[in-house]
């Protein structure tokens, strides 16, 4: 098992290396440059050239790439010129906020999605199945940012049950209950689509397993239905549900971009959008590499979990 994990970790290195090249190339090739973004209306060719020189952007592209890569390997992600602070401080702080949001959404969509899928499958074509399918399809179809705005209007503006936006109250907040109150709406809005997808796939995975011989045998042996479903069948179905969860983890990370903007959540998604608009190269590059690394690691963890559940997967 240790060897398997090590092998997977080593295979992630070229992936990350490729990501650094792609993100660097994209940021270098898109039109517009940081100096134009900073100077706005005052971006005369002369001012732009002077500022680019001060920002060190007058060097050839290949040279800049290797300087950046070399610095990053020593843990130096550079300094953001649009935020005027080290990139790594900003990324870590923002990533923490995103993990709270995406992590909660991920847990929500996993629990509710699998639960809904299991109930649907157990009651195939029954009332519960139809009701769940109906709700789930709505969840999949409504864009998360729209759902978010509607939730704000209903629960924050009209009913005033929950705060509109932000992560903590500006005054008198900062504790865990304050955080939860701010987290409810964005986490639910973000989880909605993912829950739907997980539910649909869990349902079909369960249906397939429930048709298999060992389930019939278990039932014939008089094992209580609840244990047949939650114990025997779900355990086997999890083998095909797990990779879906891995993909959904990517989804809640990328979906967080919209939700963070709507709810003003100080996360990494909003940071990247702002940084792209400001052409803050180092923040975009550092942020993308960091998020990609986390995503790759998470998927390795999913693969490892899968191989634990299903001994047929070669390690």
């Amino acid at each position: 098992m240790g060897g398997y994990i090590l092998k997977r970790l080593i295979s992630a290195v070229p992936v990350l290396f490729g990501i650094t090249i792609i993100v660097f190339l994209i940021m270098s090739l898109i039109p517009g440059d940081p100096a134009t973004a900073i100077l706005g209306s005052y971006a005369t060719p002369e001012n732009v050239e002077k500022l680019n020189r001060e920002l060190g952007l007058d060097k050839p592209m290949v040279q800049r790439y290797f300087i950046w890569l070399g610095n990053m390997l020593t843990g130096d992600f550079g300094r953001s010129f649009s935020l005027n602070r080290p990139v790594i401080d900003e990324v870590l702080e923002r990533f923490n906020a995103t993990m709270i949001l995406s992590g909660t959404s991920f847990v929500l969509c996993s629990i509710f999605g699998i639960l809904a899928g299991v109930i649907s499958a157990a009651r195939q074509y029954g009332f519960a199945d139809k009701a769940i399918t109906f709700v789930v399809l709505i969840g999949i179809s409504v864009p998360s940012f729209f759902l978010g705005m509607m939730m704000i209007l209903l629960f924050a503006v009209h009913l005033r049950w929950l705060p509109v936006s932000g992560m903590y109250a500006i005054y008198g907040g900062g504790d865990i209950s304050d955080l939860i109150r701010h987290l409810i709406m964005p986490a639910l809005a973000l989880a909605a689509v993912a829950t739907g997808v997980v539910a649909r796939l869990s349902r079909s995975a369960m249906l397939e397993v429930l048709r298999q011989d060992f389930v019939r045998t278990a039932r014939a042996n008089g094992v209580p239905e609840r244990r047949v479903i939650m114990g025997h069948a779900l355990r086997v179905a999890m083998v095909s549900i797990l990779p879906v969860l891995g993909i959904q983890a990517g989804f809640v990370l990328s979906g967080a971009v919209y939700i963070e903007i709507v709810f003003q959540w100080p996360g990494v998604g909003r940071m990247l959008v702002d940084a792209i608009l400001a052409r803050d190269l180092l923040v975009v590059q550092g942020g993308v590499v960091f998020v990609a690394a986390c995503y790759v690691l998470f998927n390795i963890a999913v693969d490892v979990a899968q191989s634990l559940l299903d001994p047929r997967i070669k390690t």
């Binding site: 898109i30 039109p31 517009g32 440059d33 100096a35 134009t36 900073i38 706005g40 209306s41 005052y42 971006a43 005369t44 060719p45 002369e46 001012n47 001060e54 300094r79 935020l83 005027n84 602070r85 702080e93 923002r94 639960l115 109930i119 157990a122 705005m149 704000i152 924050a156 503006v157 005033r160 049950w161 929950l162 705060p163 509109v164 936006s165 932000g166 992560m167 109250a169 500006i170 005054y171 008198g172 907040g173 209950s177 304050d178 939860i180 109150r181 701010h182 409810i184 209580p224 239905e225 609840r226 903007i261 709507v262 003003q264 100080p266 909003r270 940071m271 702002d274 608009l277 400001a278």
Partner: protein
């Protein structure tokens, strides 16, 4: 099958959790505390170092922490004394000697004096200054004319310019000229922008990234102390969310209300504040080639576009129709004898026929959004429809703001016939000087992207910039506006009225024509 008890228990648990969460004390949605003003901003500030930033969003915070040698007199764009109590200008207009205000200290306790002023300008302008590396200073060219800054005595400082430069006093009032504490720059170096120290009515307390910048009242302020105990600036980038926060009572004051949301604040509990500012929204016409090389076709475009409809219907009354290149907010330099081009499609058609430009194809650069650009896509399509109605074939190309600037600033030649543009400046000199002179064509480093050239205009602008007598300057600018309006190098479209909404707990708030946000006198109940 026996799933029911489980789900029932689950449902019970879920219900209990919901009850718990909603039953928690309603702190976060409770009203904001008295004496603390919470301002909804449009973006996270980049830095709180006045020399290093360029965005109005950052300036709104800075002017409450720092002060300059001069400032704009409240309600106008005229310059008055601030940290300087007076000044002398030499005969030839190249030497400015300022007497500084006595007894002023920075928030860190160090004294404000001539040395501090010299440190500020040398840091920005002298590449060999030990703290020049705390930059870059993108707008330092505002003081590009300054050759030397000298300490005459402790409370007197002298600037020597390389040539007479009339906007100098007004540039000192611009946020780039705000005075920072030298001791704090020395202590924090690159991180000064996150640890700002000035002389203003508020001191910096805390900056929680992407959540809030907190300022507190400066009890040792030399002037009248601020009316609130603290001000909190919250960045809320999404305008719908900003509106929702305002409606829900999470903020007390919001700036840049989207035109379509103003109606939601017309009821009790809110007041809307409006203020015309030094802003002009226009179309650059390519006068070098294509149909707009003919003055009659440029005038026809001015007649063909229904500007009233744009400001009233697209912008919901948040702007007024522009008459010429200079915004009326510069009252002293504005030529109020000029009327905007009337909406007259028949006259436009006649002019087009006369010039033989019937059915000409036009490429029109539109941006998705950008500083001062208001609602550029709907405005662009309205303009397209008006121009189609008089017989042009208009093809719109839309670009994201930075890409757009990268296309427009180097000039429209060979690419486009017209482009949207907007400017906000705090003096009447900058825009025409950078965008209407023949010496300001893009290949010479200016913003005259439509290649307008008129020798008389060049002469007037040069003279107005160097004259030190305000009446003479006004006369020159009025003459320039009349010629430019007649030549029509641009389609003059709109002058934006800046707006803000406050809750009824906020008193004594007003907007300034400079687009800055002075909160010293504001009271929050």
């Amino acid at each position: 099958m026996n799933l029911t008890p489980w789900t029932r228990r689950g449902l019970f648990l879920a219900a209990a959790a919901v009850a718990l969460i909603f039953g928690m004390p309603e702190r976060a949605t409770a009203q904001t505390p008295p004496g603390v003003l919470i301002v909804g901003q449009v973006a996270e500030p980049k830095s709180l170092d006045p020399a290093a930033v360029t965005a109005v969003n950052d300036f709104r915070i800075l002017v409450n922490v720092y002060e300059g040698l001069t400032r704009y007199k409240s309600g106008t764009l005229e310059v008055e004394a601030a940290l300087a109590t007076g000044w002398d200008i030499s005969e030839d207009g190249t030497e400015y000697t300022f007497t500084l205000r006595d007894g002023v200290s920075f928030h860190d306790g160090t004294p404000f004096n001539a040395e501090a002023v010299k440190f500020n300008f040398d840091r920005m302008l002298d590449e060999n200054h030990p703290y020049h590396d705390t930059g870059p200073f993108p707008l330092s060219f505002f003081f590009g004319a300054v050759q030397a800054t000298e300490v005459v005595d402790d409370m007197t400082v002298k600037f020597t310019l390389n040539a007479p430069y009339a906007p100098f006093l007004s540039n000192l009032a611009y946020p780039t000229g705000l005075i920072v504490s030298p001791a704090a720059v020395e202590a924090h170096r690159m991180d000064f922008g996150r640890n700002p120290v000035g002389t203003g009515p508020f001191t910096f307390a805390e900056w929680r990234s992407n959540e809030a910048v907190v300022l507190e009242r400066n009890d040792a302020y030399w002037g009248e102390a601020a009316g609130t105990q603290a001000v909190v600036f919250r960045p809320i980038t999404d305008s719908n969310t900003r509106v929702a926060e305002m409606l829900a009572g999470g903020i007390d004051l919001m700036v840049e209300v989207p035109p379509t949301s103003l109606g939601q604040f017309s009821g009790d509990g809110f007041s809307i504040v409006e203020q015309a500012g030094p802003h002009v929204w226009f179309l650059i016409l390519n006068a070098k080639e294509g149909p707009f090389a003919d003055k009659r076709v440029r005038q026809a475009a001015n007649y063909a576009i229904n500007k009233e409809a744009i400001v009233n219907d697209v912008l919901e009354g948040t702007a007024t129709v522009a008459a010429g290149p200079t915004p009326p907010a510069f009252a002293w330099a504005y030529n109020d004898a000029l009327d905007p081009y009337p909406y007259d499609p028949e006259k436009a058609k006649a002019l087009i026929a006369e010039a033989g430009a019937d059915g000409a194809e036009l490429t029109f650069y539109v941006t998705e959004g950008g500083s001062g650009m208001l609602d550029p896509v709907p405005m662009g399509t309205a303009i397209q429809a008006d121009l189609q109605a008089v017989g042009f074939e208009v093809k719109i190309e839309t670009y994201e703001w930075n890409t757009f600037l990268g296309e427009v600033n180097p000039g429209l030649e060979g690419k486009a016939d017209m482009a949207e543009m907007a400017w906000m400046t705090n003096d009447p000199d900058t825009l025409p000087y950078l965008a209407l002179r023949s010496e300001a064509w893009p290949d010479k480093g200016g913003f005259n992207s439509g290649y307008y050239a008129n020798a008389k205009v060049d002469e007037l602008l040069e003279a107005a910039r160097t004259a030190t007598d305000q009446n003479e300057r006004a006369q020159l600018y009025r003459e320039m506006q009349a010629i430019v309006q007649e030549d029509a190098p641009w389609v003059f479209v709109a002058n934006w009225k800046q707006n803000a909404v406050t809750s009824d707990r906020v008193e004594n708030f007003g907007l300034e024509p400079s687009f800055l946000l002075h909160l010293q006198g504001v009271i929050k109940n």
